[in-house]
């Protein structure tokens, strides 16, 4: 599904290399987790994959189902099926959450040459999905993320993901700021989307989320590289011992 090869990325504005040769393949139907110390480049990787400005790819490639991603505009990547659940979802005053969702869903459908959803069909689907995430009608009406609590913002990200049905879901610390119940809701939302045709890349610091969303593969990122890859037991090792041992091992 997602294939990242030898990806090198520096900041556009300054001479600072952040990703230093990332290699990573996420197969369709699989959940991969990325863990790693603060500042190791996890969010940067997610931004570069989804097309944020400010980064320069100096080497390497990233493809989704064989299509080269890195030359595309963010909206083109989205239409191909890339989705990033943001570590810090952005507030957009004056734009209703519902209007935003519908604009996004229909823009992607249009880009793919599919028919747009009618207002009533859309409403039906949103209401149903919002309900399972315990997002009430009021939150749907309010401006995007404005005045939402940390947990509400994260649930709203998952609602967007459920509506857009992407092929490749990248979740950047979706568990941060969630209480125990909200974590369960979010994990259920993610698990409901798990299927053969979809890949997941879950960035997290904690085992807790991975108790609910069971990963197939766990990667450890440090200083702009994947330094170790293993099974779910790797996350437990990090949880118990921190990164010191792993870092020492590869040094």
């Amino acid at each position: 599904m997602l294939e990242i090869k030898n990806l090198h990325v520096k900041l556009e504005e300054e001479d600072k290399q952040i990703l230093k040769g990332v290699n990573l393949t996420v197969e369709a139907g699989k959940v991969h987790a990325i863990m790693g110390p603060n500042g190791s480049g996890k969010s940067t990787l997610s931004y570069v994959l989804s097309g944020k400005d400010g980064y320069e790819v100096t080497e390497g490639s990233a493809t989704l189902a064989g299509e080269e991603l890195l030359e595309l505009e963010p909206e083109e990547r989205a239409a191909l099926g890339v989705f990033l659940a943001f570590q810090y979802p952005v507030e957009i005053p004056g734009v209703g959450n519902m209007t935003f969702l519908r604009t996004a869903v229909n823009a992607q459908r249009k880009a793919r040459g599919e028919e747009e959803l009618s207002a009533s069909d859309f409403l039906k689907v949103v209401r149903e999905k919002a309900k399972t995430l315990k997002i009430d009608a009021d939150m749907l009406k309010r401006p995007v993320n404005v005045g939402f609590s940390g947990g509400e913002k994260k649930r709203n990200e998952i609602l967007q993901m459920a509506m857009l049905e992407p092929k490749m879901c990248i979740l950047d610390e979706t568990d941060s700021g969630l209480d125990v119940d909200a974590m369960k809701l979010v994990a259920d939302g993610v698990n409901a989307l798990r299927d053969e045709g979809r890949g997941f890349l879950v960035i997290t610091h904690y085992q807790r989320l991975l108790d609910h969303i069971k990963p197939d593969v766990v990667h450890i990122m440090a200083d702009g590289r994947i330094i170790k890859t293993g099974g779910p037991e790797l996350a437990l090792e990090v949880e118990n011992n921190g990164y010191a041992d792993i870092l020492a091992e590869v040094a």
Binding site: G51, E75, A78, L84, V90, V95, A104, A107
Partner: protein
């Protein structure tokens, strides 16, 4: 003191082009206003108050031409249940207007007062305007008091069930309109007043608003879409105890617009919000000039102005909060922001605070910036194409001003107009 020669000549030429409506209870106020204009002269670019905006075309003897624009769309507020009062190029059109009777309010034509020797409006007409001449002169408003040909005189005595809508239509490409409205709101009374449309090629507008203790007035204006319009408006509002005044003005297009608001708190615990949103493209100069005087205790004033400027458009904001001695517990807020969509556009702002009381909370801020990149990326990452995402972020920028409008339907129609304007420029 004699006026500078050029100012004298301009003023005389302009006055000579007008004729004084005579008769009735307002003639004295008109004559007094004309002598104010003669004393101060009409504004020119050397006046400090007109530093950022050239008044020449407002003061010229003849109105410059302005092509009549037909959008082919339904005028704003047409779908509302309202009382419609239509002016065509500044002339009242009774056939196009609704019957003016409505419970809780009395509505009369200003022109009809020429036949009346006694009328309540005598205590307001030209009176609030004259108070507003100090500490800063506003000669265009005095000119209006002297020569206004028509307007409405509204006395709100209760809570009318629907809004009163002044509809301005522009049909003649060289029309020059001077309208003067008076609104008196009684204690406990409350009304909504809507104004929309391009009034004339050149439009000089004054509204004097007197709100008694515990009264409330909501004013929403949408200035027309014609491109070559020149519009100068003045709101003079005087607020009694626990009264509320909220105004919002939308400006799209128009080559030159100057909207002045002069607000005076005379009773304690009152609230006044003046807000505006404008979007301009190319040959567009838009000036909001606001003066709020706090002369009572525990009053709240908010000024929220947002401007979206592209292709060399210019935005101006001059806003002042004056807190007089004894006006303790004043809460004064002022924000003026512009979104510059390119390097050719500019925003000139002069925010001022002058405070003579010690227990007050006043803040002001003025910024110029570009589209919020994080928001833009967020929308695009969800598949929204860049152009549409830019429009949505532009609406997001304007939202703080639009949110000052109390009615959800009114706010929605303002947002639709803004979105349409942006979408046409994709």
């Amino acid at each position: 003191m004699a006026l500078p020669e050029l100012k004298q000549t301009t003023t005389e030429a302009r006055l000579a082009s007008l004729s004084l409506p005579t008769g009735g209870c307002l003639e004295g106020a008109r004559r007094a206003a004309i002598s104010r204009v003669q004393t101060t002269g009409l504004p020119d670019r050397r006046d400090e108050y007109w530093k950022y905006t050239r008044p020449d075309t407002f003061t010229a003897a003849e109105a410059p031409k302005a092509a009549v624009f037909d959008s082919g769309e339904e005028p704003m507020f047409d779908s509302f249940d309202r009382i419609k009062i239509v002016f065509v190029d500044g002339v009242f059109d009774p056939a196009a207007s609704d019957d003016l009777t409505l419970e809780g309010v009395s509505i009369e034509r200003l022109a009809d007062l020429a036949a009346k020797d006694i009328h309540w409006s005598k205590d307001i007409y030209g009176v609030l305007e004259a108070r507003g001449q100090s500490p800063v002169e506003r000669p265009l408003a005095a000119l209006n008091t002297g020569y206004a040909t028509d307007g409405v005189v509204i006395h709100v005595t209760g809570r009318p069930s629907k809004p009163i809508n002044l509809v301005y239509r522009h049909q003649n490409d060289s029309s020059d309109a001077i309208l003067h409205h008076v609104v008196k709101v009684d204690s406990g009374a409350e009304a909504t007043l809507l104004e929309n449309g391009p009034a004339a090629s050149r439009f000089n507008h004054v509204m004097e608003i007197d709100i008694a203790d515990t009264g409330a007035l909501h004013l929403v204006r949408a200035q027309g879409r014609d491109h070559e319009l020149r519009t100068a408006t003045h709101l003079f509002a005087r607020l009694g105890r626990e009264s509320v005044f909220k105004s919002f003005t939308l400006t799209v297009n128009g080559v030159l617009t100057r909207n002045e608001a002069v607000i005076e708190f005379l009773g304690d615990d009152a609230i006044a919000h003046v807000a505006g949103a404008c979007v301009g493209d190319g040959d567009f100069h838009h000036d909001d000039t606001v003066f709020v005087t706090h002369d009572a205790v525990n009053c709240e004033s908010r000024q929220v102005f947002k401007k979206v400027l592209r292709n060399g458009a210019t935005g101006v904001f001059q806003g002042k909060i004056l807190v007089k001695e004894g006006a303790q517990k004043t809460d004064g807020y002022q924000i003026s922001q512009s979104l510059l969509l390119d390097d050719d556009s500019q925003f000139l702002a002069k925010p001022e605070l002058e405070i003579y009381a010690d227990d007050v909370a006043c803040s002001h801020g003025s910024t110029s910036g570009a589209i919020d990149e994080d928001g833009l990326f967020y929308l695009r990452s969800r598949g929204v194409p860049e152009a549409e995402a830019t429009d949505l972020m532009t609406l997001a920028f304007l939202a703080e001003a639009v949110e000052e409008i109390d009615g959800a339907d009114i706010a929605a129609s303002i947002n639709d107009r803004l979105y349409g304007w942006l979408a046409r420029r994709r």
